[in-house]
């Protein structure tokens, strides 16, 4: 790791101010992407603003027909939240499947969403559920937020404060893990809310998370595993690497979509 200057934020406002004032500053949330990257000397921020002690960024609450999750809420907290388990069990399950238990104790939803790793799980969940990302400056729809690999709509001095999830009647996420890293080789989130069905795919796309229109249409007509069984995702625009060719990923999108629908319609 290169040297940097460390700042411990005590409030969201203070953190946001520091982010603007300090040169080449990065927010440290759970640190489970940023610190490994810095250890490998692939990132060298001059200033680190630690959000770990900012209590106001943590917490989960039900607000009307939404679940609001603070940016610094850990994956374990989402997974174990009674509110999430009751209203959006598929989201709790998604969080329970991120990384490993130790990673879930530190990794945060805000950190994951802001980083937009193309093989992260949350982006698929946010897009499928039509979540809203609330920053210190504005509200951004998930569809507009994720802008390709590691790229988001976040501007200079902008930080995620919380994420608002509409409660869908059916939601599930199915992941096929990379056999080595256990990150999503392909992850598919499926959500149904009223007549609207959204299907979002992570891990597979060259530009990060994307929606699968064919599946949305088919599931919109009939929300059952059978509806997606006959579909074939296109390999165009998908990643191909030593772990999985674009063709294999395309195939897995279909399988994971089917399994997500099965999970969403179970019980």
């Amino acid at each position: 790791m290169y040297e940097f200057k460390y700042h411990r934020a005590t409030s969201a406002r203070q953190a946001a101010n520091l982010l603007v004032k300090a040169d080449d500053a990065k927010l440290l949330a759970g640190g489970h992407t940023l610190l490994p990257t810095m250890k490998q000397r692939l990132a060298s921020p001059a200033n680190i603003i630690d959000l770990g002690k900012v209590a106001e960024l943590k917490g989960i609450e039900i607000k009307g027909k939404t679940i609001v999750i603070g940016a610094m809420t850990t994956h374990a907290e989402v997974a174990n939240s009674a509110a999430v388990q009751a209203h959006l069990p598929g989201l709790a399950a998604l969080a329970e499947g991120i990384g490993d238990p130790q990673v879930r104790h530190k990794g945060t939803i805000g950190g994951s969403v802001a980083n937009n790793d193309p093989s992260a799980d949350y982006p698929a969940g946010l897009v499928a559920l039509g979540a809203t990302i609330v920053t210190n400056k504005r509200k951004i729809a998930a569809d507009d937020f994720f802008q390709g690999m590691f790229a988001t709509a976040l501007g200079e001095g902008e930080m995620i404060v919380k994420i608002i999830f509409p409660i869908a009647s059916r939601f599930a996420y199915a992941k096929f893990p990379n056999p080595a890293s256990r990150y999503a080789l392909v992850g598919v989130a499926v959500a149904r809310k009223g007549a609207s069905v959204r299907v979002a795919v992570t891990g597979a796309g060259e530009n990060g998370v994307f929606r699968w229109a064919d599946a949305e249409k088919a599931l919109g007509a009939k929300f059952s595993a059978k509806s997606v069984e006959a579909l074939k995702a296109s390999a165009k625009g998908l990643n191909g690497d030593m772990h999985a060719s674009a063709d294999y990923r395309a195939h897995l999108i279909g399988v994971m979509a089917k399994r997500a629908v099965m999970a969403a319609t179970a019980k």
Partner: protein, 790 residues
């Protein structure tokens, strides 16, 4: 079966565990010396390049830098290069082409991760910061990466001594007899296979701490070694760091080795040398990425193999042509692995009249390749057990019955490839394993899987290995640079407790327990009164270390010999003390008694008397009770067994799940079944890793794509099943304990068992290791096509 509470055969809990479970282990990186500095290596980013210039001026100016050293400094101090300790000759009798292997590059780099310079600083962070400022001007050369085309014209030359990149072209066996047998064959099975390159990945990365005492003009090297004496011998006699008596090598707790810590590496050589250069202790600890780049890798063979079978299903001959990748430089035992540790095992457990093997080894611009758990024997077993399986299937025979028909049934059995199998019961192990695995119920389980849309398969692997490495004169005649005996010293203290100094080295095998068990049982004293000393060249006189499943068969046999001498001396002391004839002394359960009397002395009393020396004169007997011994085995040992793997494949995703694992092994005498079972478990996991998860991938420029656990599939707990084990021991005649060795068995047996199970499920043979989900999914597509075509 009743098991003894202590002594040989008892599942005694490990003595060493207390320090490990309380965080008090003492690994190399846990050791710190006053004034210690930290080393970071500048490594080549290119697979193949000339070094035009190294400019360290900017780096030297960085904070905390103590020194920056290059190959030129090594040369100035007349420090020699790393060596390969096993001479192999070409078919025409000429010696192999061994290129120079300097510890820091001498004008050229030959793989990504090759050592260019070392930066030594006050802190690790400062060393790393400065290492980035070392400017190296490279002239990049074309990289030779692909094994199949490494000897093609115009690909480039890695070492001048080997213009076409061939290290040697070697063979074993009777070519004419083999060809004659193939002419008589009713059926010939032909397979082409790759044995995938693996990275050993002991959980403790390699580390070294060099220290120099200017007052004594002597060096100490703390290092992650499986054989500190061999390391000292090489560092002293060949590399020229210091005379042996001025160099102490300490291998403290070592966090796993699996072969990868046998070798003398550039980093430890540089650390101990640099300690004198900079006048301060120098510590280096590999991070995982460095370990991936620069540790010796394992396997990496391409093989075409054929088996000739007669009309009755008897195997007539095997013919094998292998190309083995040795990487950019010859590591310490690199040349022995694809030759004498490989081809002599091509007879498997079978009675095969003729065998001929040709092995061509090549340099490539990749990390050096050397022994990794099993070393040559997994490669041989994969060839034989795939050949046998495919032959049985092609001939419409049950694979188990085909094996039973061809097993060696009488011992000793001389194979056509050097080895004399001296004891075994191969058919017995097969039958026991089939029962334990409920092979009879497999059909029903397969139908149940099919009902759930899954494919189930069952695969056998009847492996054999040559362990207890090794009779010195035999290996000497085959080109080994050293003898492979072992030494031991048993020191009985005046108060009756015992220190055993052994040349074996434990890095997870539990020697502190098993060796103590042997001694406690023999001397009739509590195991707590025995301590095992290893891993320090200043304490142990000499030793050849731990690898090749040799510590039990060879290391413990040396202890037995020393114990024989201790007992003989103690009898003399007891006889003098009890005023009896030596022939009238009995020794049992820790007590010396005089026949026909009630006179007795406990072992501890005799020990005390031996040191007090009041009851005898110097003319009668030397005082003291301490004996040493060297043991050189008369033959290799031949652990063998049958493993049965049962898999279920999800054809939708290609995921292979191991549903059942059964192993029946013949390890000869088992000292501690708990520890032996643990060795088998770990071996199987590494073998399953090779079969399903682990594959080392370089791109065409020689960049290592699998350089971390993000991309290299390490088996995790949820990838593996629980294992069901049985033993079918027949005593090894070549050592006094009858031990055969168990450390490598699982890693040798497992890969063909997995692949035979997968191909059984698929109904075709087209799958390579590692059988990752993607590979299996593709193979499932081929299966669908072949069914459609039928």
């Amino acid at each position: 079966m009743t098991t003894p509470a202590t002594g040989v055969g008892a599942p005694i809990r490990r003595k060493e565990d207390h320090r490990f479970i309380t965080g008090k282990g003492n690994y190399t990186d846990d050791i710190n010396r006053p004034g210690q500095t930290y080393a970071v290596f500048v490594r080549s980013p290119h697979a193949h390049a000339k070094i035009r210039k190294i400019d360290a001026a900017a780096a030297r100016a960085m904070p905390g830098v103590v020194g920056i050293l290059t190959g030129a400094d090594l040369a100035a101090d007349k420090v020699g290069g790393l060596i390969c300790g096993w001479m192999i000759h070409n078919k025409d009798g000429s010696p192999m082409s061994a290129g120079a292997h300097p510890a820091l590059a001498d004008g050229k780099v030959r793989y990504v991760g090759d050592h260019v310079a070392v930066v030594i600083a006050e802190s690790l962070a400062e060393a790393r910061d400065a290492a980035e400022k070392v400017a190296v001007d490279y002239e990049v050369l074309p990289a030779v990466v692909d094994l199949a085309s490494a000897t093609a014209k115009g690909v480039g030359t890695i070492h001048d001594v080997a213009p076409n990149n061939v290290v040697f072209d070697w063979h074993l066996g009777d070519k004419a007899a083999t060809e004659a047998a193939f002419k008589k064959a009713r059926h010939i099975t032909r397979i082409t296979l790759a044995n995938n390159r693996l990275v050993p990945n002991a959980m403790e990365p390699r580390a070294a701490l060099g220290d120099y005492d200017a007052g004594e003009d002597s060096f100490t090297l703390y290092t992650t070694s499986q054989n500190p004496h061999v390391a000292r011998l090489i560092l002293s006699a060949f590399i020229g760091i210091a005379p042996e008596h001025k160099l102490r090598v300490i291998a403290p707790d070592v966090g796993g080795g699996f072969g990868s810590k046998i070798y003398v590496y550039a980093e430890e050589t540089v650390c101990v040398w640099a300690a004198k250069r900079v006048g301060r202790p120098v510590k280096w600890v590999a991070d995982r990425t460095e370990e991936f780049l620069a540790v010796a890798h394992g396997r990496d063979h391409l093989t075409h193999a054929e088996m000739a079978v007669d009309e009755e299903g008897k195997i007539l001959a095997i013919r094998v042509k292998t190309r083995a990748n040795l990487g950019a430089y010859l590591s310490t035992f690199a040349s022995a692995v694809p030759t004498y540790l490989y081809a002599p095992l091509l007879s498997g457990q079978y009675d095969i009249p003729a065998i001929y093997a040709e092995v061509e080894t090549v340099y490539t611009n990749t990390a050096p390749v050397d022994a990794y758990r099993g070393a040559g024997r997994p490669e041989a077993t994969f060839v034989v057990e795939r050949l046998v399986e495919v032959a049985a299937r092609e001939m419409g025979q049950d694979p188990a019955k085909f094996r039973l028909k061809n097993f060696v049934k009488k011992w000793p059995h001389q194979t056509p490839v050097i080895m004399m199998y001296d004891a075994g019961d191969y058919a017995g192990s097969m039958r026991q394993a089939q029962k334990l695995a409920d092979v009879a119920g497999f059909g029903k389980r397969k139908r149940d899987s099919a009902r759930n849309g899954k494919l189930r398969g069952l695969g056998y692997s009847a492996y054999i290995e040559a362990c207890g490495i090794a009779p010195s004169s035999a290996v000497g005649s085959l080109g080994a640079g050293v003898g492979l005996w072992e030494s031991a010293e048993v020191r009985v203290n005046p108060t009756g407790n015992v220190e055993v100094l052994t040349g074996s080295h434990s890095h997870g095998q539990g020697h502190e327990t098993t060796f103590a068990q042997l001694v406690a049982g023999r001397l009739g004293i509590p195991i707590e009164q025995v301590s095992i000393v290893h891993g320090d060249t200043d304490k142990v006189q000499f030793g050849m270390g731990t690898y090749g499943s040799r510590s039990g068969a060879v290391g413990m046999s040396a202890i037995v010999k020393a114990l024989d001498k201790v007992e003989a001396k103690a009898r003399k002391v007891a006889a003098l003390c009890m005023e009896a004839a030596e022939g009238d002394i009995d020794f049992k359960d820790g007590k010396f008694t005089v026949k026909g009397t009630d006179k007795s002395m406990a072992f501890g009393e005799v020990a005390l008397q031996a040191y007090i020396a009041h009851k005898f004169t110097g003319q009668q007997l030397e005082p003291g009770l301490k004996e040493g011994a060297f043991f050189d085995p008369t033959n290799f040992t031949f652990p063998a067994g049958v493993h049965i793997c049962e898999v279920e494949i999800d054809p939708e995703t290609g995921v292979t799940k191991i549903e059942k694992w059964t192993a029946v092994d013949d390890f000869g005498t088992v000292i501690n079944p708990m520890i032996v079972e643990g060795q088998v478990h770990g071996g199987i996991a590494q073998g399953v890793g090779q079969a399903l998860h682990e594959g080392t991938v370089y791109d065409k420029n020689g960049q290592l794509l699998t350089a971390s656990f993000m991309d290299y599939g390490m088996p995790r707990a949820d990838d593996l099943p629980s294992y069901s084990l049985g033993f079918n021991g027949t005593a090894a005649p070549s050592n006094p304990l009858g031990i055969k060795g168990c450390g490598e068995a699982g890693a040798i047996a497992a890969p063909p068992a997995v692949i035979n199970a997968i191909t059984d499920a698929l109904g075709h043979e087209e799958i390579a290791m590692p059988a990752t989900p993607q590979a299996v999914w593709l193979a499932v597509q081929k299966m669908a096509k072949s069914i459609a075509a039928e």
